[in-house]
Symmetry: D2
């Protein structure tokens, strides 16, 4: 069997580890041949290929990024896109595809399989941990680790200098990174999209700490937290979903704006850190390397079994597979009870 591999969407530590696992095990155990498609779906669309064998995956396990590069190209939005993909797969003698990516990438894969019979299996990827179909996936642990290390550092400077420190972390639709890093770092207030405390409530929590004699606070905020005010105060609800000239959501904005509001409301000196893409770059944690490798093993199994339209998943602590359509169906939010339990440790 000749297998194409591609990675789509945003960066996520562990992508290379998946590629390596798929290729190493596929070659050694099942005798597959592999070809890499570059730049996500743009690869099979424009026939951008690269050799992909055991030699190409050597040494990439600890590396961030993806040797196959990525893009957000969607062939269904391009006239004749699907046909070009099918032609290019045929031209390269490719029998099956492994698509590694998030909601969008796997959404394309699911439709290519369901509507056009393309033989494709998937590996789910999300830094934000917001795919309902799997307990967790690679990259999330790395992001949480980096955010926690930043919160640790902010603690020492906050404690010594009586300040409010705002740390903006990733999470457009869900607050998983904020919640876990806030819990691991001992944050005092954690603001997430699913449980959007208002600015006033945030400042009240800071004020209570102050009243208890603690003159510093660490606030962790998801980039997707809506800057919310209590209705009776201003009636204003400013969404964070400002988009820039290129149509993508602006990073960094919410942290800065929140910091300004905290200073205005509390009078406490406030400083802002915006972690941005350092959360999704660089070497994956050991945890994520193992997870990514195991997901790759499942993908190879799906290839041998003809599990087209399915993707690797971790459910109840066990590696298994589920329909790719599931990955797209359902956003996994932070449950209210979990946020409530965690809140007992904030402040």
């Amino acid at each position: 069997m000749r297998v194409g591999v591609l990675t789509g969407g945003g960066d996520c530590p562990g992508l290379n580890a998946v590629i390596r696992a798929v290729v190493r095990k596929g070659v050694a155990e099942y005798g597959f041949e592999f070809v890499g498609f570059l730049d996500g779906w743009k690869g099979p669309l424009e026939n951008l290929t690269t050799p992909l064998g055991v030699d190409q995956v050597r040494g990439i396990l600890p590396r961030g990024g993806t040797i196959l590069k990525s893009s957000r190209t969607n062939p269904f939005k391009i006239d004749g896109g699907v046909e070009r993909i099918k032609d290019n797969l045929a031209a390269n003698g490719v029998d099956a595809l492994v698509a590694i990516g998030g909601e969008d990438t796997l959404g394309v894969a699911a439709r290519l399989h369901a509507e056009h019979g393309v033989q494709v299996v998937g590996v789910p990827k999300t830094i934000d941990n917001d795919l309902g179909a799997t307990d967790v996936t690679f990259g999330f642990d790395t992001a949480v680790s980096i955010a926690t290390e930043a919160i640790d550092r902010l603690h020492s400077t906050a404690e010594s200098h009586d300040r409010v420190m705002v740390c903006e972390v990733m999470g457009r639709h869900t607050g998983w990174i904020a919640l876990q890093s806030g819990l691991a770092g001992g944050a005092d207030v954690v603001l997430i999209p699913e449980q959007p405390l208002s600015v006033e409530r945030c400042c009240e929590l800071i004020g209570r700490r102050h009243a208890r004699g603690k003159d510093f606070s660490i606030v962790v905020v998801s980039e997707g937290w809506p800057l919310t005010f209590d209705e009776e105060t201003t009636g204003e609800v400013v969404g964070s979903a400002d988009t820039d000239a290129f149509g993508h959501v602006r990073l960094g904005g919410i942290g800065e704006r929140l910091g300004g509001e905290i200073e205005r409301h509390t009078g406490f000196e406030t400083r802002v850190t915006v972690l941005g893409h350092i959360q999704r770059g660089g070497s994956p944690t050991a945890h994520d390397r193992v997870l990514a490798t195991r997901f790759g093993v499942v993908a190879d199994r799906l290839l041998t079994e003809g599990g087209w339209g399915r993707m690797a998943a971790l459910r109840g602590g066990a590696f298994t597979d589920v329909p790719m359509a599931d990955a797209v169906a359902e956003l996994k939010s932070v449950p209210a009870e979990l946020y409530a339990e965690a809140s007992g440790f904030f402040g």
Copy 2:
């Protein structure tokens, strides 16, 4: 309710995070009072106590070690030990105990409950990941991370200088740390107690790499791997369980001896790293801090429910509780299939 807390056995990153969680949630949510017993079971035995409230647990979340210190004291091996413990608990007005520890510490707790009616709940602890009653516990991820970082570093020097690098990691009875860090670090040979490859087989694997043109190898070995030789060669099987004058197993020995054998058998320059206690010291990973906090939450719930003789556990990805006796009953070994699957990525 007045609750005593103690930590027993070897160090494990996350102990402080458990103590903090138990105390913070216990005070805020359930109105418990706490008292710390120092030095494991020696604390209630010799009435070594320390104040333990919200102030005492401030700032300890990211810290390694345990503010309650530890020991390997076993009250059942001391004449009148159990009575002294019961007297001291009574003298301190302690209604219930939280025992945080491994097989030995929880074994004592289980017997104190079963045989003497002491109201005790447990939190399992093992750096080695060898407790059958829980999927995983805190400290293991930190140990694997540290070992993986070491293997990463050894890679660059091995690659540049044509060497065999031996890295001895923890794991007296099980190979979990070796397996996971070997997988995460891209090791070439992984030697564990459960699947004890012989020295000759290890050297054969190194030789094969050499034959394929790769002139370096990374060998990860559990401290508990028995230095085994093929019968037909020497008939010699040297156990690693040498004990020193104080009756504890000698660390470090197996790595050095293996390195010597590899040089002798292959003629390749071999260097040895013995990670020792750096694997169980220092700040826990974000993953372990969250895990430890969640285990603390379960312990508090057990206290409120009167779940005496039970301990926190993670089963199938969910936090739950199990009888403490289970922790002692069963050693969780690396399954043969998992080792076989992982071996596909070694070499």
Copy 3:
């Protein structure tokens, strides 16, 4: 001799290491007694003291922040401030002071000595490396390390996803952190206050890389870089010195604004990271711990010699002392030749 110690100004990894060194050596070798003044100059002003002996400095060597806390209080701006300080020193039986801080803190110390005869020695502190009187001081290496690690992470994500990554680092008046971390991290464009390339020039450098087939760029920018445009294009020069309602310069602004301009000028997707205070919090590097300790040794020597009005310094690789007034006199800028030499490695 009874000696007061205080730390003033912003946080800087290594402050605790200085305090520890001054106290440990002072007690053991010279028989000094110490008292800690809290919150910088506010301590002697308002008689905020804390015990400071060998016990208090135990375990603080690797810790960020300062156990003596800090402030930006300036007694010369307070009516009767100097007299209150002198009274409080006398009331505490303090013969001499060790002032650890930057330009402002040491400026106060220098005047207290010169104009009011207070027996004070200094230890210079600047995360920005901008004190002319010393080759380097503690904290800078830590800040550069943290910024470099961030740039490393941005590299992998930039390479895989064809982006411009902007990383805003500290440095209000000088570009040392940007220059060193840019050099260590392999940045493509480095924008510093002393050599303010325009936005257009920055975009031209990015464009050239693109023309050479490299579709990602890392831009490191000092927070103090003035957002400059070529006159003929817009005539606009927007300073970064916006101040907020509390009179301090706004962090984070310049990175975000630069990112927006790069997107506007080049059309490349641009992402922004604002490291903020994580650069000055947390555990100091080994290098900074040793440096801080050695500066503490010099401070003790100055105390024994009556070197009032002088401070520790590193000159030409040797530990020595200089008048504190020197620390204030001269800002150490990045020399044009050094920037030019480094620029050979950017892009």
Copy 4:
């Protein structure tokens, strides 16, 4: 000018950064062409070459190891070795060489220049910081950082569990790594070759801590510390310079043996960590990357000036050059006064 580059001797973080700097600046500024010789002096001896241009050095700045690989081959010990080198240089059209290495590699370079007129410049390399001709060189800061991080981790476990922790670090002839990491990590006893305290003295220092109520100790020992006993006790002096079957000094031995002696003398449970080659592998610190880059700049300057027989050096904080013969002439030991000053902070 066509320039050959080679790296010799043991691994050292920063080698790739030097190669990159020499090539990037050499190509861009001086129009040099480069060729890489593989495996140290074995490369020009056996004509092992590799292309070396701007493309080959891309992305290597943060990487440990050396893309040119290394060896300890000495052409002066091989019949006709020098002639073969001269022939191969001529055959490759190589006008000049950059030799990056330690005492041995530079010793060969110095003789090739002095005795055979080979046009060679050098860049000094030593993880141990023991070259007299330069204040410091790259790799040392990385080694000290890694050792300090290990000592930090040992602290938390030692404190919690009443133990003696022995940490063996690199340093065959000098104690620089032990001294600096011991100072940065807050070690209690530091044993170095230059100031060889006896086992009994070491145990006495541990005992004194115990008498002061501290029940743990961290002992840092250079691999080259001679296991020394007080004459009156045993008369025994066991050197650490045991060599194995391949003639190289055995790593790891001294730490294990010291640990055993401490247990025997004090009765305290003792644990041993042998850092080994993790100290010289992996990514260099920011500090070492900058240092390595600057050394590369000096090497290029020497090439343009015809500074044959000279090498880059850092003297009194300034980058300069010195005769290569100096690197070989003089071993830089830890001065007695520096050890004495540092000892004030141990224990």
